[in-house]
């Protein structure tokens, strides 16, 4: 296990990065020098001015602290939307692959069609109609991004149902729902989990994009909100938008690294000792 992690650079840095992000998430009040939800006395400080490592915004909120707290928002959005999207995808894909036949044909066609819909704009539309609370954002991202998970789960289920242990369980008289939830889904979960990390990265980018359009939750500090706000001060206070963007890039990269690493573990293509 540890050897696998050390051997795959992407997996190694991905896991390291996730540990880092989770520490920031848990220790935000300790790390952040100020509570960013409180407005400071100093208006618009530059980098390093008055003890503000990364400066402040026009309301005196400490940018560094905002970034630390913003990690909480991003991770929440990532995890909750990925859970929703994973759950829907696993159930729909599992049913399609496991039952096969006409059920599979119809569900696959539905999955394909939903993969073709412009997700981002649909999210934008729903959020603007239903209100821009952070919970709406999480739920809507989850509800609109399941098709990829479903496709992966379907593929897994298709191959798993031909495997001996599933056939054995069928012979022993387990009914279909039991088979699906006891054997098919647990054994086909791994590729979906690997894909979910990519989904998390995309969720973070989507939340940031929504915030940038003014559809973020105004009661919460998020990196996207910071960029949105900083947009008006690009020439006078570039640091507001700049560091928030850096935080997004780092976080998203970590999720991608983790996803690629997990995929390598699943299909180790580069086998050693080829030939002879």
């Amino acid at each position: 296990m540890i050897e696998t992690i050390l051997n795959d650079k992407q997996l190694f840095f991905g896991i390291l990065g996730i540990i880092f992000l989770l520490s920031v998430f848990a220790l935000a009040p300790v790390i952040a020098p100020q509570n960013p939800y409180n407005y400071g006395p100093d208006i618009l400080n530059g980098i390093g001015e008055n003890g503000h490592l990364l400066g402040t915004n026009k309301m005196g909120q400490d940018i560094f602290s905002m970034i630390i707290y913003g990690a909480r928002t991003s991770l929440q959005v990532a995890v909750i939307s990925a859970l929703i999207s994973g759950l829907i995808g696993i159930i729909i894909g599992g049913i399609a692959g496991f039952f096969g036949g006409i059920v599979d044909e119809i569900l696959s066609e539905i999955i394909n069609i939903f993969m073709m819909l412009p997700t981002f704009f649909l999210i934008l539309l729903i959020i603007s109609l239903f209100g821009n609370s952070i919970y709406n954002v999480m739920i809507v991202i989850g509800l609109t991004t399941w098709p990829r998970n479903a496709k992966l789960m379907r593929g897994e289920a298709l191959s798993l149902r031909e495997r001996t242990f599933v056939k054995a369980a069928t012979a022993m008289g387990e009914n279909k729902p039991q088979l699906l939830f006891k054997y098919i889904i647990p054994n086909g979960l791994f590729p979906v989990i690997a894909n979910t990390t990519v989904g998390m990265a995309n969720a973070i980018l989507t939340e940031a994009s929504l915030s940038f359009l003014g559809l973020g939750d105004p009661n919460i500090i998020s990196w996207g909100q910071m960029i949105y706000e900083g947009k008006s001060y690009l020439t006078s206070a570039w640091w507001i938008a700049f560091f928030a963007g850096i935080a997004i890039v780092i976080t998203v990269t970590i999720f991608y690294l983790l996803g690629d690493g997990l995929n390598h573990v699943m299909n180790p293509k580069h086998s050693v000792g080829k030939g002879v």
Partner: protein, 320 residues
């Protein structure tokens, strides 16, 4: 082949119907009543309300309403923007050409640059160039497009004052002819660069991995054994096999660009549909937002259909 095209067109039509249905469902389950959604939350004009109710048959049962809605939408009637009091379809088509200019330019440039980078990286796998390209593409993949655009603005409005950072033309002058074209091109550089940079990873990854996969195929070994020159093997056999996935990628990229361009247009104040989206969001102009969503979805569905059929024609293995 004909059967495949038929099947694919049918899927396309179903996709479009689903898009319309989603829209219809959204109108009906949105907070407040549908008329309020269509009219704008702040306005309350009894005359307008009556007109809308009649037009959409809002006193009829839902299935009838659905059909009325579909009929209107298929005729190209996407409703009226309350804020501007103009048909939504008109407002969108006016802005479409500026958007299409950005989308197509960046789609083609990113296809070329990303694919060439991928091929180079694959042919020199594990070299310095490969490492640089791969790292560059990996990071770019994580960059929010609008933020990259903002970085360009910071850079070009403060340090390098050589390119315009907003709009499509210089409003203080009224160029004509070549000077106008040159002006537009200058204004395009930054938004197009942003979109291209964001798209590069997509093409880079697919080109690199498919070239690597193809050069390890058995038929390449056979061709080498025949004494055929590496150049010919690559240009004819590796290339045609490896480029096929890029066709599909082009579709995915266009689909992304059609919606993603909105953000970039807003960043660079490009006078396309993006600005329309932003004002519609700010003014709660739902008919316009929905109209844009419909048009985007329909164009993506049609485009994906064309790409899939094109792919089927290029790849002899697909015959249904």
């Amino acid at each position: 082949m004909k059967r495949y095209i038929g099947k694919r067109v049918l899927t396309g039509i179903i996709t479009i119907l689903i898009v319309f249905s989603i829209n219809f469902v959204i109108i009906n389950i949105a907070p407040g009543d549908p008329v309020k959604t269509l009219m704008g939350q702040e306005t309350d004009d009894p005359e307008l309300r009556a007109a809308l109710e009649e037009k959409y048959g809002l006193d009829e049962p839902l299935p009838v309403q659905y059909l009325t809605y579909l009929k209107n939408a298929l005729k190209g009637d996407l409703g009226i923007s309350i804020i501007y009091n103009r048909p939504v379809i008109k407002m969108i088509t006016e802005k479409l050409s500026a958007t299409i200019l950005l989308v197509l330019t960046s789609a083609i440039l990113s296809l070329l640059i990303g694919t060439i980078m991928g091929i180079i990286a694959a042919r020199k796998e594990d070299s310095i160039i490969d490492l640089i390209f791969s790292g560059f593409s990996y990071i770019l993949n994580s960059v929010p497009s609008f933020w990259l655009g903002l970085l360009f603005i910071i850079l070009f409005s403060t340090v390098l004052k050589i390119l315009p950072t907003y709009g499509m033309t210089n409003v203080r002058t009224s160029y004509t002819g070549l000077a106008y074209v040159w002006d537009v091109i200058k204004h395009m550089v930054l938004p197009v660069s942003t979109l291209v940079l964001i798209q590069i990873p997509l093409y880079f990854r697919i080109a690199k991995s498919s070239v690597l996969q193809v050069i390890n195929e058995d038929f390449i070994l056979t061709l080498r054994a025949t004494g055929m020159r590496e150049k010919k093997i690559f240009n004819k056999y590796v290339f045609k096999n490896a480029i096929l996935p890029t066709v599909t990628t082009f579709g995915i990229s266009l689909a992304y660009l059609i919606t993603g361009v909105v953000l970039i247009e807003i960043v660079f104040a490009w006078p396309g549909t993006g600005r329309l989206v932003l004002t519609a969001i700010n003014q709660r102009d739902y008919p316009t937002l929905m109209g844009i969503y419909l048009i985007m979805s329909v164009s993506i569905a049609v485009m994906m259909m064309i790409i899939d059929i094109l792919y089927a024609m290029l790849d002899p293995r697909i015959r249904y």
